[in-house]
């Protein structure tokens, strides 16, 4: 049983992070002073996705937009298992950007931040947004 599959092709690879072929990167882009994305030209719906066919809320055209790098934490966790090449523990949070969409960020410090904690996106780590808690 331990030998099963050894030396034989595997069924599927899930991207270069785990040894497969690279795929297009769909993560939000951090531009130093803004998170890049798009906004609806009619209803102002914001999205971190840059190649939408139209506004998914009202179907009007989307245009390029720059969003704030700050916002409140919607929820946060710390993951304690390996995921792809990422080693535990690492902190993740959904952040509602102050004028923009909800984005997933990695936390600079692996701690479970409370709901509504203020964070600032300070950079990227291998393409992931990285956020730091803003203490007032």
């Amino acid at each position: 049983m331990a030998e099963l599959g050894v030396g034989r092709p595997t069924k599927r690879r899930a991207g270069s992070a785990v040894g497969g072929l690279p795929v297009a990167d769909s993560r939000p882009v951090f531009a130093g002073d803004a998170v890049l994305g798009t906004r609806c030209s009619a209803c102002r719906y914001p999205s971190s996705q840059r190649d939408l066919p139209w506004c998914p809320a009202c179907y009007a055209p989307m245009v390029a937009e720059r969003f704030a790098t700050t916002g409140p934490v919607w929820s946060a966790t710390v993951v304690d298992i390996h995921v792809g090449t990422r080693k535990p523990p690492f902190g993740l949070a959904y952040v509602d950007l102050d004028d923009g969409p909800r984005v997933l960020v990695h936390l600079a410090e692996p701690a479970v931040l409370g709901l509504g904690s203020r964070v600032r996106i300070t950079g990227t780590d291998d393409g992931d947004l990285v956020a730091t808690e803003v203490r007032s």
Binding site: S26, R27, T77, L92
Partner: protein, 379 residues
Amino acid sequence: MTEAMLWGVGTSAYGRFPERRVEALAWEAVAEAVRDAGISPGEIDAIVVGSVFGPPGVATRVQRGLGIPGVPMWTVENACASGTSAYHEAVEAVRLGRFGCVLVLGVEQMSTLFSGAIVPEATDPEGASSLPLPGLYALQAQRYAGEFGVTPEQLAAVAVKNKRNGLDNPRAQLRASAPTVEEVLASRMIARPLTFLQCCPTSDGAGAAIVGGARGKRRDLRIETSAMVSGALWDHRSEDVWGYASVARAAERAFAQAGRTPAEIDVLEVHDAFTIGEIITLEALGLASRGKGAELAPSGHTARDGAQPVNPSGGLLSRGHPLGATGMAQLAEITWQLRGEAGARQVARHRVGLVETMGGGAAGMDGNACVVTILARQT
């Protein structure tokens, strides 16, 4: 419209079977379902298959052994709801008179793909950022606990209940022991606050069902409704935790079609991939009001001898979670329960049953799909 009935069900055992061929798992389930329905395989005039990870052409590879050539056949992929999505299509087809007897199959072999948690989908923004499914549910749990003050002990109570139920399920993957709340909380942390014993295992297995019209057999179950919904945007405007709204949409449609209320359901099999999942689902189904779902397991309401038993099979937390097969395993359990054939797992009141399967994980959506079906014993 033709009335749709469930004629028979069958499953394989659930566990890690990397040495078995994926179609062999399927054949085991199909053979039992065909026997259970009391039909000849030649009576099947369509096949619908639910599977997530294939292999490609898995339906045809299964069909090869069945001797049912040339019939309409298709494969459905709706994440964890793939099996019940296939079932939903079969039910609709029978209702519309398109087919008289449909074989539904859900099959998955995950042990040859993953050694632990599912590797997140690299094409997805959240997947590319290394958000595993337990992490997504953990974010849901943290939000939910922050809003409603749910305790770790209340979360753990779901695992205690379902793992205790699973001890009586000979086909379950995990049936070694029934942990205490303390043991659940002391197990290895996966994604805070979800510990190892609050996460279902990835699994191999298959489930099958035969759906057809009314044929005058008392053992057949009446399919009162099957409702399927796809995902909707889940974003900065969403007041609900991830996943809640998709289950609520399917539930609302199902109860309206069946003309029933949540209180009329005797026994349920719902999607407990993680403990928080069962809690959120039961609120979305209307068994508890907002923020009160976490009280259902500790109070005994959802225990096997409680007012409304939930996951008497042990759920995904015991059975395991072979994605495409999970919904079919849930259907099989509710079928056995309603017929009074569930043995040591049998619940006292078993006239009306409900199955809910929620598949998710695509970033920015409140789920990939959700299916809710209500079945009833003929009176």
